[in-house]
Amino acid sequence: MHTIQYMLLGCRLHLVGQGIEDGDNSTITELKQFTLNLEDHASLVGGRLHLEALVETLLPYARHIVSAQAREHKSANGKVSITPWHRGHRLRLWNENGSARNDVQLDDGELANMVRCLDAVIHDPRFQLDITAPPMEGLRERELLNRLPLKRRLAAPLGGLVLTMALVGLGFLVPVPERFRVTDSEEQQEGGAAVELTEEQSLPIELDTESIELNTVPIEVDTVPVEVVPDTDIPDP
């Protein structure tokens, strides 16, 4: 059995496994157990799967803290989860049956120690297991929502809404245009090229026939006898 130990300000990570013996440069090719002691107030023990899950969970979690976007992270195999907790962090290791194996509350300093120890493990040439840090990329704009204050985030949509309502209100103030029609005869005259619009009377005119009858006065026409003059030659002047 070979051991490799990493220490950083009260955090001690102890790896035990099989490998190649070469004095101080002993390598570990098969991990049996790791023990992580945190300033004597917590101790985490596990195997390779737990160490893999710790690397898979804690390093992306720390990356999100750097962007001030801390959020819960859980390993794919479900063995480790970490979440922001009050002013610190809550790290839980789970058993195969789903029961909590360890439940530890950490402050930023302890978490940073653990992250640096894990960094040291995966960058150590003596540790020859295929455990690597997950790739890290910049967050998308929509993932950075809480970087902007609420007032600034709401300003654009609220401004757009108010402007739309104002335009709609102004639209009601404008009088509705009267309907127009195109007469068939005019359309034929113009050959369809130029169309003259005539105003349509919207209401039919009802004639008051009685009043017309009452008011009508018979017109007497004086007939004058027309004298018929025979055709005569008109002398030239």
Binding site: A68, R116, D119, G138, L139
Partner: protein
């Protein structure tokens, strides 16, 4: 006469003797190149955006507020990294003045290698002052002592920002407010502690690229 003959024979063998090698002969991406001021044919895509440049310079300023020797340490570390040794504090200052919030700013873009070097510098210096950072963020410290430390660091950072940054910028005007300055100092220290060491470079670079992904 003999001297003249000797000179003539030397000229025949080396009609155009090679000039002595200079610093500028070795093309090093970290060195200032002639095409920096011009318009390159194929511009290199920028590795970090405006927010990243601001953040990087603010992190360096926070490191200087933590320890005044950090500024010198960064220059010394940079001179060690660049083999040619022509990298001085002036060139380093030019890199840092790409921060748009600076009182004196330059509009040229940093090359990818330059950004990577600055990120590595920040992570290296954060690892050096790691015990200080740890003291600040640890909740096991005495609250009154911790408060005094935070107040001192915030005041130093405010002084440095007042000296170097453009006071007309709204982001810098906010630093005059003690509460805002304290919150920003805490954010910077948190960023530094989780960026310390060789593994921190990936994390810091990724955070500097926030908002650049479609």
């Amino acid at each position: 006469m003999a001297v003249l003959l000797l000179l003539a024979s030397r000229l025949k063998t080396h009609p155009h003797p090679e000039p002595a090698p200079t610093v500028a002969d070795d093309i090093d991406p970290l060195q200032p190149q002639q095409d920096d001021a011009g318009f390159p044919d194929r511009p290199e895509p920028s590795l970090i955006g405006r927010h990243g440049l601001q953040q990087l310079d603010l992190l360096m300023t926070t490191l200087e507020a933590l320890d005044f020797r950090c500024g010198e340490g960064m220059v010394a570390s940079l001179q060690q990294q660049v083999a040619t040794g022509a990298m001085g504090r002036v060139e380093f200052w030019k890199w840092r003045t790409t921060n748009p919030l600076r009182r004196t700013m330059r509009r040229n873009r940093l090359k990818q290698a330059q950004v990577m070097t600055m990120v590595a510098l920040v992570c290296d210096m954060a690892a050096r002052v790691y015990p200080l950072l740890h003291q600040l963020v640890s909740v096991r410290e005495e609250p009154s002592v911790a408060e005094a430390r935070w107040a001192l660091l915030t005041r130093r950072l405010q002084d440095l920002i007042r000296q170097r940054m453009n006071p007309k910028r709204a982001a810098m005007q906010n630093f005059a407010d003690d509460e805002y300055a304290l919150a920003m100092t805490k954010t910077m220290v948190r960023t530094l502690i989780f960026s310390a060491g060789p593994g921190g470079e990936q994390r810091l670079l990724a955070s500097l690229q926030d908002g650049m992904r479609p």
